[in-house]
């Protein structure tokens, strides 16, 4: 048993150098110079400048800033827009990814506040674009009322009528879901879990970079085992990040 453990340990340590040999991107400064700041923000002072035709190693990025290493080992943060003007050794432009285009973005994650049937609502969602105008949305939310506390999960399709409209673009959706009721005040609800379906109307808009907002109205039909189905309404507003 012990030799086996020793062998495992040895193997674990022998793996480390492989990890350290990670390939990093190297780019050549094509402009007269590239400024390196002491931190990833516009206010941080420039602490080093790399001249034209010198090679910098790109270590990693944080928001719009890239941590780079100069040929003589100095490290600092370069602005995305400035690093995008560098070149690869082959002469091609450096592969600094541009911001995703809002009209054609694929993924989206967001959260927001809403009102579900006069109850406070916390909502989170994930969204995947099948095409520019057709999305699959997955929503997880919690409605916190004085009488009960509901968890609602739903899956649906959403259509954006004119995806090219950046600032204000109407949407409509359709989907189904499931709710679980956790009662706060007796009597207990007749059913604690139900299936539901919804229609929605909404608006979305671009804010800046990879930031956007959404507002939605939903009308639910909650399928119950009584004579009448419940038909609650919901309003919500949220912020999202898209990729």
């Amino acid at each position: 048993m012990r030799p086996l453990l020793a062998l495992l340990l040895l193997q674990a340590f022998s793996v480390t150098p492989v990890h350290a040999k990670e390939q990093l991107l190297e780019v050549v400064v094509a402009e007269p110079y590239l400024e390196m700041h002491s931190g990833p923000g516009r206010g941080y002072p420039v602490v080093y400048v790399v001249g034209r035709d010198e090679v910098v190693t790109v270590l990693y990025s944080r928001t719009d800033w890239y941590k780079v290493r100069a040929p003589r080992g100095q490290e600092g943060w370069a602005r995305r827009s400035e690093l995008a003007l560098t070149k690869l050794a082959s002469g091609e432009p450096a592969p600094i990814p541009p911001y995703p285009d809002f009209a054609t973005h694929r993924w989206e994650i967001g959260a927001g506040y809403g009102v579900f049937n006069h109850q406070n609502l916390v909502t989170t969602w994930g969204d995947f674009g099948l095409t520019d105008s057709l999305d699959v949305e997955f929503v997880l939310q919690q409605a916190l009322g004085t009488i009960d506390n509901r968890y609602i999960a739903s899956l649906g399709m959403r259509h954006t009528f004119i995806p090219e409209w950046r600032w204000f673009s109407p949407t409509a959706g359709l989907g189904f879901g499931y709710q679980y009721i956790d009662d706060k005040v007796p009597p207990k609800p007749l059913q604690t879990s139900n299936q539901l379906a919804y229609v929605s109307l909404g608006v979305r808009g671009f804010i800046t970079r990879r930031f956007m907002w959404r507002a939605d109205w939903r009308k639910y039909v909650v399928f119950t085992n009584q004579n009448q189905n419940e038909e609650p309404e919901e309003w919500k507003f949220g912020l999202a990040v898209f990729f």
Partner: protein, 223 residues
């Protein structure tokens, strides 16, 4: 007939002449006639294309960590709290953050004076919350430690909402906070936070908004 033959011969002679011109000394006239089909006119390039893979740049926009501190639950004393936090930095100014924490409430003054009274059951004293926040780095800068060390830092404000589960009930809560992030290295940060969780409750007799202020110290990793 004779003219045709001579013209063919002339053509052959011309061709052979051309061949001679191109091939240098090596080509005798007899061979020239066969040569155009046999020999490849273009050199086949023997190049193995190297697949150049440009390394990807790692984005370290996520922050994950834990925190502990003290939470003052209104009417229920101040108690230890511990939790986890995760953040995504959208830009150098804005970030989105989520918190998940738990604490345990003490006793109210009423319960201390009259031990027979219990406002909240023992299991109900457990407090858990989750929060979804938007944060803004108001004052980014550097903190100096002596002559030789400078740490990047930011003073930020957060606002958000979530659920506080206390006394066996879930309540919608708003939270307002302020904190200081100090980057020990570019991937390790220390946080000092003060946050107020506001929710409505009727635990102590009448319905009111209670303020539950927490002061915490946290450690996070960027990845």
């Amino acid at each position: 007939m004779e003219i045709r033959l001579s013209s063919v011969l002339l053509a052959a002679a011309l061709l052979s002449g051309c061949g001679w011109f191109h091939r240098g000394e090596k080509a005798p006239a007899a061979v020239v006639a066969e040569e155009p089909q046999g020999e490849p006119s273009i050199i086949e390039p023997q190049v193995n294309r190297r697949a150049v893979k440009t390394p990807k740049i790692k984005a370290k926009d996520f922050e994950l960590g834990g925190y502990f501190g003290a939470l003052s639950i209104q009417d229920f004393g101040t108690n230890p709290i511990y939790g986890v936090r995760a953040a995504y930095h959208v830009s150098e100014d804005v970030f989105l953050e989520g918190f998940l924490a738990r604490s345990k409430a003490g006793t109210t003054s009423l319960e201390d004076v009259f031990p027979a009274i219990t406002v909240v059951s023992d299991s109900g004293r457990r407090l858990t919350y989750y929060d979804l926040d938007v944060g803004y780095n108001v004052l980014p800068g550097e903190i100096f430690l002596g002559r030789g060390h400078a740490f990047n830092s930011a003073l930020y404000v957060t606002v958000g909402m979530g659920d506080v589960k206390f006394a066996d009930k879930d309540r919608f809560a708003l939270n307002f906070g302020m904190g200081e992030r100090l980057l020990i290295t570019d991937w390790l940060a220390m946080h000092l936070d003060v946050r107020d969780h506001v929710f409505e409750t009727d635990l102590t007799g009448r319905t009111k908004n209670v303020h539950n202020i927490e002061a915490t110290l946290g450690l996070t990793f960027f990845y």
